[in-house]
Symmetry: none
Subunit: 141 residues, 4 copies
């Protein structure tokens, strides 16, 4: 499982990448493998639902065992199942790019990262950059 | 943040516009930037869910940082994500015209207005009229 | 059932009384007999949960058919039933002073008023003053 | 409203104080005035509900406009109303020490801090230390 130090490093590196790219205000969340927050940071002027969206992107990855890009493809093919997932998880799942699983070099699951605030592909870029800066492996699906 | 006096002026001006246009019975809600009500008024003969719909139109704008017209376009393109938003916000988001962000002349966010009861474009007209009557800027998306 | 004009008069008169008495920032809500809002106003600097508290005081009166002072006495005698009421109403009931039923001269039920923000007895004083200013009868229990 | 930089400084100073005092693993949350997270950090080995408890301590302060110590005294005197608050806020309120309002030197409300994981008085000590380190005023009630 990710330590607080590792999770903080991921979040700060992700936000550093976002500022470098000039993205819109973001929220970045790192969850442990049980889906519980370790670190959340919301930038100034980000919308008030962004923490839940970032949480749901990361939680959705842990919920299904797939990165958010895989979830987004699945949701497009099977929207009814996706609606059922939203309901059965009580709103904890968003199957969107910007959610990635965090693994170590051997592939062991350490947690998940969710990013929300810009376009889904940009959110994903930032999530991956944060994880890699911490010397870990991002599984975006 | 909007004062009670400003929010009351927005609501009364919006309802005045609605009566001038002969619209159906409306509900108008003004929220602070955190999504909490300052003023709600529901006209005689309006449906009993209208307060929640007006609230969700305004809240959805604050949740994502976009006016309701932008939200409505997004929902049409990506209904699965829209369903997820509804679930993860516990029903607090309606991405529909009739929700507008309220800004000052410098663009600072002061709150949001939601209107429900007539066609979405008419609801939006009334919300914009109310905000402008109070000397503020309506961001409809 | 109360009209929007009557409900607005009650709220504005209640807030006028509160300012005259120098009370803390208040929220005042008027519900129709079905428990749905007609008017809500929250004064500057009032806490963000005050709209729900005012709503629950008014809704609780309608839920049981008794004014809030009767509800408060009941809750003191039977806290377990009160907890059950909170759960079964999904948080819509607060049995506290500051909630009053609104009746006409013949005793017919027209709606309910909830006030929150100061001490319960002061909230009730303001609710009663608002109803009486509108020429109606406040049933505080 | 607190910036992300200010909120980060509060959280890091609070956790620094906790390590200095040798407290149990903590979670620290900083909310904006609308009750939405800016920063959350959960230390290694903290329980999985701690983020919600810290959130509810901070949210409860914003909900009623009082610091957590005042809320805790109120809850002891009036447990039935406290149960109703929990229900009507859908579990967003914990009236406990460890929640403090954050104000500027003029008394304006900037947000709230919640700390959970050790004894309530220690949680409060840490919350106050974090706020003061950031040059702001902690209102513990």
């Amino acid at each position: 499982m990710l330590s607080l130090n590792q999770a903080s490093e991921i979040v700060d590196a992700a936000l550093g990448k976002a500022r470098e790219l000039g993205l819109r205000p973001l929220t970045v969340t790192v969850l442990d493998p049980g889906g519980h927050p370790i670190v959340v940071k919301r930038e100034d002027d980000a919308g008030i639902l962004r923490p839940q969206i970032a949480h749901a992107k990361a939680w959705g990855c842990l919920g299904t065992g797939h990165g958010g890009a895989a979830g987004a493809r699945h949701a497009t093919r099977d929207p009814a199942f996706f609606s059922a997932l939203a309901a059965m998880s009580e709103g904890r799942v968003a199957s969107s790019r910007g959610g990635v699983l965090v693994r170590d070099a051997e592939g062991a699951l350490l947690g998940a990262v969710g990013v929300s605030g810009d376009r889904p592909e940009n959110d994903e870029t930032v999530a991956v950059a944060g994880v890699e800066k911490a010397g870990l492996v991002a599984d975006a699906g």
